[in-house]
C-alpha cells in the first residue's frame, strides 16, 4: 500500500463520516425549511385577500393534526405503486404488444387505460394472471376504487407464493384506505410471518403504529 493511501485510510473512520454526513443532512434540511418559509411568505403576500380563508384552513389543519393519525393518513404515507417488473423497457424499445401497452400505461400513471389493458390480458389468459391482477388492483387503488381493489387482493392473495407478500402488503394498505384498521392489522400480522417480505421494515413500523 502506498504511503498516500495509508494516510487516506487513516482519514476515514465511522465517527468522522457520521459527522460529515450529519452536516450534509443538516444543510439539505435547512434548505428545505428555508424554502418552505419563503414559499409560505410569498403565498401570504399574493393571497392577502384570501387571508381569512387561509387562517381558517390552517386552524382546521392544526386541529386535525392534534388528533390521532387516521388510517387514511397511514395509507397516504405508505402507498406507492409497485414497479413494473413484467415488461421493463429499454429506451430503444417500441411499445407493441398488448402487455407492453398495458404496462406502459401503468408506468405513466394512466391507470384507467392500464386497467382496460389488464382486463384484456386476463381474458386472453396468456400471461401470469396473478401478477396482472396485482397490478390491476394497485391501479384501482390509485384511482380510488378501493372496494374492487380489496376484492381482487383478498381473493387472490394465496394464488402464488412469489407474489403473496405483495398481495398482503397492498391489501393491508387498501384496508387502511377503506378505514378498516383492524383488518389492516391482521393482514400485516400475516405478512410479518411470511418468509420473504419485500416490505419487512415498513410492515413492522406500521404494525407498531397500529397497535399504539
Amino acid at each position: 500500500m502506498s504511503k498516500n493511501l495509508e494516510t487516506k485510510n487513516k482519514m476515514i473512520n465511522d465517527d468522522d463520516l457520521k459527522t460529515v454526513i450529519a452536516k450534509e443532512e443538516y444543510t439539505k434540511g435547512k434548505k428545505q425549511l428555508q424554502k418552505l418559509e419563503t414559499n409560505r411568505f410569498s403565498i401570504q403576500k399574493k393571497w392577502l385577500v384570501a387571508a381569512s380563508f387561509i387562517v381558517f384552513v390552517s386552524l382546521l389543519s392544526f386541529w386535525l393534526l392534534q388528533k390521532d393519525v387516521t388510517p387514511k393518513e397511514l395509507f397516504a404515507q405508505n402507498f406507492e405503486v409497485y414497479p413494473n417488473l413484467i415488461t421493463p423497457k429499454t429506451r430503444s424499445e417500441n411499445t407493441n404488444t398488448l402487455k407492453e401497452i398495458a404496462f406502459n400505461n401503468y408506468e405513466i400513471k394512466n391507470y384507467k387505460e392500464a386497467i382496460n389493458g389488464f382486463n384484456t390480458l386476463l381474458a386472453l389468459k396468456n400471461t401470469d394472471t396473478t401478477a396482472v391482477k396485482l397490478y390491476k388492483a394497485i391501479s384501482l387503488l390509485s384511482i380510488d376504487n378501493t372496494s374492487e381493489a380489496i376484492s381482487i387482493l383478498a381473493k387472490n392473495k394465496e394464488a402464488n407464493k412469489k407474489w403473496k407478500d405483495k398481495y398482503l402488503w397492498y391489501l393491508s394498505l387498501a384496508y387502511l384506505k377503506n378505514n378498516q384498521p383492524e383488518k389492516a392489522n391482521k393482514t400485516l400480522e400475516n405478512l410479518s410471518k411470511e418468509e420473504y417480505n419485500f416490505k419487512k421494515k415498513a410492515t413492522l413500523t406500521l404494525l407498531k403504529l397500529l397497535k399504539e
Partner: protein, 181 residues
C-alpha cells in the same frame, strides 16, 4: 396511535413531508415563546429551523427513541437551549431564565453533530463526500447516519441481495478514499 409517535417514525424514516409538518405544527407557538428574548424575527426563525433539524438528528441517531413528555415539550427544551447559546454569543443572557444550562453538564440531547466544528481531516472528507455519486451518498447516509442494517438498505434502495449492498458499501468507501486530497 398517538400523533407524536407517528411524527417521530416519519422523521426516523427520513420522510421529508414529516419534517415540514413538524416544523409547521409548533412554529407559531415557538415564535410566541421566543419573542420575550432579545432576538429578531429572522433570528427566531433561524433558531427554530435548527431546533427541528436537531430533533431529527436526535431521532435518527437513536438518542431519542421514546418521549418522556410531549413532543412539543421536547422541542421547546432544545429551543430554549439554542436560544441560550445564541444569546450567550451576544453576551446577553438572562441568567435566571437559563439556570438549568449554566451550572450543569450539557445534556447529550443538546450535543448535535451538525453543530460541531469540523477538523481538518473531516473537512477533506466532506469535500470528497460531496464529490461522490448520489447512489453512494445515499447508501453511506443510510448506513452511517441513519444506522440502517444491510437488510434495511436492501429494502429501501431495492438492491438484489445483502451481498450486493455489502460490496457496494466497500466500493463507495474505496471511491471516497480515492477522492480525498
Amino acid at each position: 396511535m398517538h400523533k407524536d409517535t407517528f411524527l417521530l417514525e416519519g422523521l426516523k424514516n427520513g420522510n421529508e413531508k414529516t419534517l415540514s409538518k413538524v416544523y409547521l405544527i409548533y412554529k407559531s407557538d415557538f415564535i410566541a415563546y421566543a419573542k420575550k428574548f432579545d432576538l429578531s424575527k429572522d433570528d427566531i426563525i433561524d433558531v427554530y429551523q435548527d431546533v427541528i433539524l436537531a430533533l431529527r438528528e436526535n431521532v435518527v441517531s437513536g438518542k431519542l427513541t421514546a418521549l418522556n413528555s410531549s413532543l412539543k415539550t421536547y422541542i421547546f427544551s432544545i429551543g430554549k437551549y439554542m436560544i441560550y447559546s445564541k444569546l450567550r454569543k451576544k453576551n446577553n443572557v438572562h441568567l435566571q431564565e437559563f439556570n438549568e444550562f449554566t451550572n450543569t453538564e450539557i445534556n447529550q440531547d443538546y450535543d448535535f453533530l451538525f453543530a460541531k466544528e469540523l477538523t481538518q481531516n473531516q473537512k477533506k472528507l466532506q469535500i470528497a463526500f460531496k464529490k461522490l455519486g448520489k447512489k453512494c451518498q445515499q447508501l453511506l447516509t443510510l448506513l452511517f447516519y441513519n444506522n440502517y442494517s444491510f437488510d434495511d438498505v436492501l429494502e429501501e434502495l431495492d438492491y438484489t441481495s445483502k451481498d450486493v449492498v455489502k460490496s457496494q458499501k466497500s466500493r463507495c468507501l474505496k471511491t471516497l478514499k480515492q477522492k480525498i486530497k
